[in-house]
Symmetry: C2
Subunit: 427 residues, 2 copies
């Protein structure tokens, strides 16, 4: 398709999404929940068609030599479709964030102010291979009153279309406004540029995928982007740490699920306890096949059980059974290392010294700071948020685990009985 044609189609989708967003603002919570449940039902009913579409993507993926891991991410089956449908029903059961009064007050001139939570409007989601994102993202956005424009990856295009169609057809029977959920039906790269340019229609873009995708969106986007670059997470074992707890947390954070963003990548150890602590954790790591890369002190203590860390190691998200280990002389040095090398996602201190922990938490410039808890708890579900659309490493609007509230904005509603500035000013 040529660029002008792509642009025309996507701009038209944008305009339609805005109209849908306006229609969504007056839907009640009950209505939205009924729509969501109808979408789940429709998804189950259209399982055969969705699996047929998915088979096409799998066949194309095999022809294109996708890795086994990529094919697994792409693959749908009965259980996975059931999991997507159940996920929709779980979102329907969550409280509606829209309409919550965040604050209200009355000024001396008797003007009443209310700050009310409202939908953002139109949300663009640009994602890669997993077809379940089509449903997960659209559903969270809908629950929070937003229209969505989805742009999935080419590997999953048939699956995405089938899922979107099931959501739309099921939802519309229950009163989903037309065009509230739209999937761009092609995957030309130009579609990302057009989305990034149309700030009159898209209020925010959320890219979900690898660094290359996010980088492209950030460099092109005229509207806000809420992103999650990476998770270079640290755990600092203070001199006043409980040894047993320190070993358990350093173990869990690294080995419980090494391929995720809240997994530990760099372990910082206070010099005063390193001789005691390091052999203990090294035994655990070695038994679990964790490769250790350390500074001079670590090499001295561990000998050939560890290799030398390079400068690059301090800035690497391994997402694997590899860990960088550094010895520090003070908590200040740990904080400085973290504020220089962390991706501002999740960092932890293990210590029994409360004032030291408080100072660490105040100074570490990350979305989530943990005291005596594994960074693996940096997760919307574990926070109790119900469902998460991602974890933001940005500092504006949404930081850390992002759930329904983070998909809303607010509006000031101001009520009076004829006050005019000329005679009722308070300033």
């Amino acid at each position: 398709m040529d660029k002008l044609e792509i642009k025309k189609i996507i701009l038209e989708m944008g305009s339609q999404a805005r109209a849908a967003a306006h229609a969504l603002t007056i839907l009640s919570a009950d209505k939205k929940n009924a729509i969501l449940r109808a979408m789940a039902t429709s998804l189950r009913e259209q399982e055969v068609g969705i699996l047929e579409a998915n088979a096409k993507d799998i066949a194309a993926g095999e022809a294109n030599d996708l890795t086994a891991a990529m094919l697994d991410r792409l693959r749908l089956d009965h259980d996975r479709i059931e999991a997507i449908a159940t996920g929709i029903e779980e979102v329907a059961a969550l409280a509606d964030p829209v309409g919550e009064v965040l604050s209200d007050w009355v000024r001396p001139n008797d003007i009443h102010f209310e700050q009310v939570r409202v939908p953002i409007g139109v949300i663009g989601i640009i994602y890669e291979s997993r077809p379940n994102v089509t449903s997960d993202a659209a559903v969270l956005c809908l629950k929070s009153g937003n229209a969505t424009i989805l742009r999935g990856g080419s590997e999953a295009i048939h699956s995405n279309k089938a899922i979107a169609l099931a959501l739309q057809s099921g939802g519309e029977k229950a009163g989903l406004p037309a065009n509230a959920i739209q999937l761009i039906p092609f995957t030309d790269r130009e579609s990302v540029s057009v989305m990034a340019s149309m700030d009159q229609w898209l209020d925010v873009i959320i890219p979900r995928g690898g660094k290359g995708l996010i980088e492209t969106v950030v460099s092109l986007a005229r509207m806000p982007v809420i992103k999650h670059y990476d998770g270079i997470c640290h755990t600092y074992i203070d001199k006043d740490a409980d040894m047993e707890m320190a070993v358990a947390i350093a173990d869990d954070a690294k080995t419980h699920k090494p391929g995720v963003c809240n997994a530990l990548e760099t372990l910082l150890v206070h010099r005063d306890i390193v001789a005691d602590f390091l052999p203990k954790i090294a035994d655990v790591y070695q038994s679990k096949g964790v490769e250790m890369r350390g500074d001079a002190t670590v090499l001295e203590l561990l000998g050939d059980r560890a290799s030398a860390a390079s400068d690059e190691d301090w800035d690497t998200e391994y997402l694997d059974l590899i860990i960088a280990i550094k010895v520090v002389d003070s908590m200040d040095e740990a904080v400085k290392h973290i504020n220089t090398h962390s991706s501002r996602h999740s960092d932890c201190i293990v210590t029994s010294n409360q004032s030291c922990a408080q100072l660490f938490m105040t100074q570490v410039d990350s979305a989530c700071v943990f005291h005596n808890v594994s960074t693996r708890f940096s997760d919307g579900g574990e926070f109790g948020f119900g469902a998460e659309i991602g974890i933001s490493t940005d500092k504006l609007h949404a930081r850390g685990p992002m759930a329904l509230r983070e998909l809303t904005s607010y509006q000031y509603r101001v009520r009076g009985d004829g006050q005019i500035r000329a005679t009722h000013a308070t300033t």
Copy 2:
């Protein structure tokens, strides 16, 4: 100066600002307030030098044929410097937003969660001619715990340097961290591009100035931009409006201060009451020299007192004694017009019908919606926020009047006693 040199200097300022931001996180409210008061004192003490610098800018402005209005915006005198210093003391007297616990909860596994208000980090301010912005912006950012990099307009460069120096020297005596307030000491256009590119150092850019400046920043910036495009504000006179109140509000909103962003630009009138209302407001407008541009019905009723509005009028921010007037058949039509043409800043309904007002406020997609109150109250001071850094027409992070709270982010602080995900997961 060549581009590479500019880039090197500004990147270095960015790195220094990040270090300053980290130092600012542990300053107490009392300490910040003492620094602010010292800055006010220093500004007063350095009045002679500041006025000398300002005289250079004025002379250059005259040589460059700046308009009288532009020269007035640029000009400083004793009273204006005193006003800036008093403004700093007023900010010192405001409550400190940093450290506020926004929410806290405990999960079933006894992990304690706290969402705490923290500074954003480093804020870039790009502004045009008014030298007082140098102080106003830096001071609000400092109060909220942020480091700033200021880039003012070329017309005010000498004044800006003198003000920044006074703030820095006064503040540092009282404990202001080095580089917490930095002014780019030149005004090459390249400096805007470099700022917009350095998302490793700047957490947000706030452009303050004309549409051209904002457009440039939006198209270049890799980090979030909080902007205020324009204020195309509407007032809708419903069929159930109190006539006297409607005239007073339409008058105030248009004529009280027509050159500001919360002034009325388009008046929408319900057809059922237009024959009654229009002649009344037209008399007021005519007596105050307001030019009226209307649709066919307006022309029919007002004859040659009004001229015909073109399509462009519905999208124009006049900032002047001109008003566009349109007759609508229903509140729905008014809402639709507003959601199509408003800049999402501030819009108003005048009606005695409460449910109609509620529906209007829910459906109008603007930062501030007013019921029976002049849009001129769309102002941080009138909201009771104390001091405002701008009015955001964006929907993410900050919407509407932006004050200290809007210059903060949040951080999750999570405390436990050794919980690990392998054995303490709740999901």
